[in-house]
Amino acid sequence: MIVLFGVFLLSLMVITALAIVRTHHLFVAVILTGIFSLLMAANFFVLDAADVALTEAAIGAGISTVLFLGALALTGEHERANASNRLLALSVVAVTTLIVIYATFDKPRFGDPLAPVHQHVSPWYLEQTPEVIDIPNVVTAVLGSFRGYDTLGEVFVVFTAGIGVLFLFGARPPPRSGAASRNSAAPGQGLRHYLIPRVVGRLLIPFILLFGLYVQFHGDYGPGGGFQAGAIIAAAVILYALLEGEEQALRVLPHKLLIGLMAGGALLYGGVGVAALLLGGNFLDYSVLAADPIAGQHLGILLIEAGVGITVTGVLLSVFHAFAGRRRV
């Protein structure tokens, strides 16, 4: 049954990918990319990877679509005609495809329990998590504690991406030479003129924020954690910006605060590592943070997940404002 679902979802994804390549209308391509991410999320969920599915749905289908649309609002909706050599590109793609298909023959059968990925460190993680860390969600234990270095690296990748976008767009918002120079009042005003989405949005934003906090702090027990929660909280603020206007959102969470969040979250993560070092343990070894090693692990995971969430929220909102605050060129 799972195989049937998997084949169905994967064929839908292939169809969507072909449609993305075929379309010349970039708006359509962006929406199709969102659909692609949603299908991928469903596929992850079918494969029992609920944490990854949540991340893919929140970031791939949600926030990236908004950022792409923000980029389209600055440029244009139609693809430029491409006159380069298509035959060469097609043959390179064909050869690569054949090599990849040939490589799959060496892979273990789908769901094979003897596959190397199930034999290497996974049994050790499953065995050690109840003893050493004692939280039900092994994914969070692996992500936060066993592989804390990797997650630290991921946070810095997100942080670096945010810095890169801010450098490209200019960290300071472009000087506003009065409201008159803007092409109309509409971009800064959001949907203020339009009642129904505003009423429903105002009703929902507190619950979205609450759900974000739930995902953040429930990550030890169920699917969730800092990455997903950061994306959900950023989505709530972006919804606020769309409804009430971008400037109103900047009044609530100013640029300086967002940059502080970006750096502060990564700093909190690194700081937990240094604190463990000062208390006599290894870098990011949370056991020494409290008298009881298991309580120390819990405290460490809580703190670093908070750091992840803060950085992701700050980066996503900074990138959104970098796109939204810029006038069309």
Binding site: I196, P197, L204
Partner: protein
């Protein structure tokens, strides 16, 4: 009792599935954007309500049922709002009911 619940649940799921299917056919076959939105909104409302009630019967009185109820409430609030915003945006962009959005685009090319 369990059998009765199962039958009721599967009936709800099948009718909900039928509504989703009709919504999909309507979204493809209806002549202009507004009627297509109308057809697709059938999926969000009747389809979602029936399918989620069907799953709630399967879940029984548990935390899962409460979560499904929350999802249902969220869908009932957001989907009609999204449809309304879409139709309103199309109207603001100057698409009159009766115009076919795709054929209009082809004419403008």
């Amino acid at each position: 009792m369990a059998l009765l619940l199962d039958i009721a649940s599967w009936a709800l799921l099948s009718i909900g599935g039928a509504f989703v299917f009709i919504g999909g056919v309507g979204a493809l076959r209806m002549p202009d954007l507004y009627t297509r939105i109308h057809a697709a909104s059938l999926t969000d409302t009747m389809g979602a309500v029936l399918v989620i009630f069907g799953i709630m019967l399967q879940a029984g009185l548990s935390l899962a049922a409460v979560k499904l109820a929350a999802i249902l409430l969220f869908l009932l609030l957001t989907s009609p709002t999204a449809s309304n915003a879409l139709a309103s945006a199309a109207l603001l962009a100057g698409l009159r009911p009766g115009d076919d959005a795709t054929s209009q685009e082809e004419q403008s090319k």
